[in-house]
Structures are given as structure tokens and as C-alpha cells.
Symmetry: C2
Subunit: 249 residues, 2 copies
Amino acid sequence: MMSNGKAGTVYGIGVGPGDPDLITLKAYRILQSAPVVAWPAPMEGESLARRIAAPHLPEGLTEVPIRMPMVEARFPAERVYDAAAEEISGHVQAGRDVAVLCEGDPFFYGSFMYLFARLVDRHRVEVVPGVSSLMASAAMTGAPLASRNDSLAVLPGPLPEEDIAARLDGMDAVVFIKVGRHFEKIRRLLEDAGMAEDALYIQHATMDRQHIQPLRDADETAVPYFSMILAHRRGEAWRKPGDPAEAAQ
Amino acid sequence: MMSNGKAGTVYGIGVGPGDPDLITLKAYRILQSAPVVAWPAPMEGESLARRIAAPHLPEGLTEVPIRMPMVEARFPAERVYDAAAEEISGHVQAGRDVAVLCEGDPFFYGSFMYLFARLVDRHRVEVVPGVSSLMASAAMTGAPLASRNDSLAVLPGPLPEEDIAARLDGMDAVVFIKVGRHFEKIRRLLEDAGMAEDALYIQHATMDRQHIQPLRDADETAVPYFSMILAHRRGEAWRKPGDPAEAAQ
């Protein structure tokens, strides 16, 4: 990371899982002072990260949309990030701080890392961690994500079936992200692992349209990409974490 | 969860990983209005959760320390939580909201779950998710925790060696928590898995005394319980997440 007295800073801002009040004080303060804000969005339509941060954005900002084609071919995606990095770099060289808005946390499966890789050797880049959808989903379900000496796996839905089965083996708790069209595969694998009975399906955690239901009742025809499934080998008992003595070193 | 017009609410407040500015706006606002604050602490000495929240606590609060013996025997730990739950319950029944301070996130390996289990059937309990040390550590190291379709394991250091080895197998990224006296075991297991070379050791992420270094240089004689090790199968390349096209559905 390079820095000089005149150049600005790139901030990778975790804006949290959806509820605008789940942004951090640090992120909020940076948004009050940075004159440029960049955000990822689909080719057409709204940016979720920008919508989450909207109540906190001052008037008169310069905005840098980073619009990504939904069907990601290799070269378009790389070109979009290359172009966004150049635009951000221009602002930073001119002395303007740039806040890049990231859903959840910037370094937890976030697209910010593609900008980070393009900017970190040229500019001062600071990552501001945010509340992840992982923790937000657990909070909303009322069931601890992991406790004591639980092993926890985070598995993206697009992984091949045999890889998921192998990585599930022996884990106490598992969170599936990017569920979308992989819903049926995941449900079957959780059934095979004996973890489906009390698993929970969550979409849009902490947002107005939040939806939580038992996995067994979920409608597999209406599963968005950014939905999650939480499961625990302790089943029902995971809501009652039991004896704290077992958590000792 | 029960609620009536007169009873208060129990809030499980994630205060974030250490930097007081990494608390959420939501948590901050609840701390401005709740007349009672409870916090975990060792038998003697300071509460880390309270120290993180201290700049945000108003004057004149009623405080409920939850002091836990360091060597956890079964009955003392259960009795401490039983007593704390009774004291909190008394405030709630009298119409006072109680904010329970939790380091990081309340449902990510937090002790709040022991109070939650004791209070959720009697009172209105709301969990306010926080920035976890997991995300904070990744932000401070400048290396994404997980990207694209990475599988990620979170493994507590106290797990038996053979369990760790089995759960590491095939994972792209791994975070060890509760490292402490298990440091040598973890380093050896990461070496066996071919993931030690670029692993990072982190203690006190986002705090004044933050310390980050390559695992291979870390001093195994001075490893606190609440330290972490981050490793990635891509090694050095994990800082440069590569081609976004591979992240497609």
C-alpha cells in the first residue's frame, strides 16, 4: 500500500447484511466524509449495497457504479473491474477518498476483493469489516451459529456434490451460501448427513422482506442466489447450547 | 419469547471485535437507552466486552457483572449463568431493558447463548449481530477470508488432533479460533496439510495492541486463548483472488 500527503484513500466498506442500522459507526463516519462512493450493481436495476447504505449517504456525492453482467464471461468481468479500478484510481490520485460499498463484509465472499487486488499496490486501501449475513442470519433465527468447540463449515452451493458431501462429514455446524438453484442438491446432501431435520432456510436476513422457515417447508421453486441454509448436527438442541463447562480449554 | 406492555427486553449486543467504532448504529442506539447493562468478565479484572463498549455507555447505568471462574467446573459455570439470568430477569420484569454486552457477535462462539437459553422462553430477547473477529482479522491482514466458491472451515483449537486433520481435508480456507496452548498442534497440522507456509497469526485484531505476523515467525510461548490463525490453500495467491468469472453460479 502506498500513500502520500495528497492522495486519497480507498475504503472497502462493509455495509452489513441489510438493515441500514447494522452498519458500523466507523463505516458511517467514512460515508459522511468521502466525496466519492462506488457500488456494485447488476447491468440494470438497483445496487443492494447502495440501497443498504442509502440512509447514510450525504447529498452531492460523486457516484461510481460498477455494473456487472449477470452471466459472467471471463473477459467482460475482468474488464468491468479494470475500468472501475481506473476510475477509482483517478479520484484517489486527485486527492479524493473513495468509499466502495460492499454488502455484508468486504472480505467474506465479497466482490470487493477484485478491486482490492487491482488497487492495493498503488494506493492506500483500508478494509472496514462489516456484519456478515452469516452472523445476521443466526441472530434472526434465534439459534446460535456455533458454540463451545463446534466445528463450522461455510460451503457455497455451486460446489460439486461430492465435494460438499466430503466437507460436511464430521462438521458440527454448516452454513450454505449462494443457495439459489442448488437448493435441491443441498437438501438431499443434508438429509444424507442426518442434518436436514432442524435445518433453517433464510433469505434477506434483517431486511423488510426477511423470510425464515424450516428447510423441509421451503419452496424450492423460489430460492434466490443470495439465500442461506443453516444446519447443526445437534438438531433441535442447538437452540439450547447446554453445559458451558464443555467449552473449557 | 413472551412479551407484554410493561416488561422490558433483553438485548444480546454484539459490540464488535475491539475497535469501539466497529459497533453498529443499532447497538449504539440501544446502549443509549437501556438502563441496565450486563457483561461477562473473569473473576478478577476487566471485562473485554465492557471495555470495547465503554466509550458508548451513558452515565448512571445499573451494571450486572457476570464473573466466571477461569477454570470452569460444571456447577460453578451453570450457577453463574443461573444467577445472572435471575438478576437480568428481575430487571426485565420490572420494565427495564437489559443490554448484555458480547465481544464480537453474540451467536458466533459467544457466551451469550447460555443466557439466551435461560431467558428466551420467559422474556422478549433480541440478538443484535456484530462484526466478528473472523471478519475483522481478515480485514486487518489484507487477505480475503474466502472468495468465489471457496469452502471455509472454522475450527476451535481445543478439538482433538485427528478431528482437526479430518476437517481440514479438502477445505480451501481455514480459521483456527481459541488457539492458546494449542498453537504447536495447529501449526503441525497446517504443515501436514500443506497450508502453513502463508498462514497468518493474529491477536487482538482492531485493538491498539493488535499483532499480526506470519505463522512461521510467531512466538509459541506467548499465545493468548483469544488469538486466531488464518490459512488458505491458495497460499500467497489468496491475496490476489484472481478471475471473477470462476465465481459464477
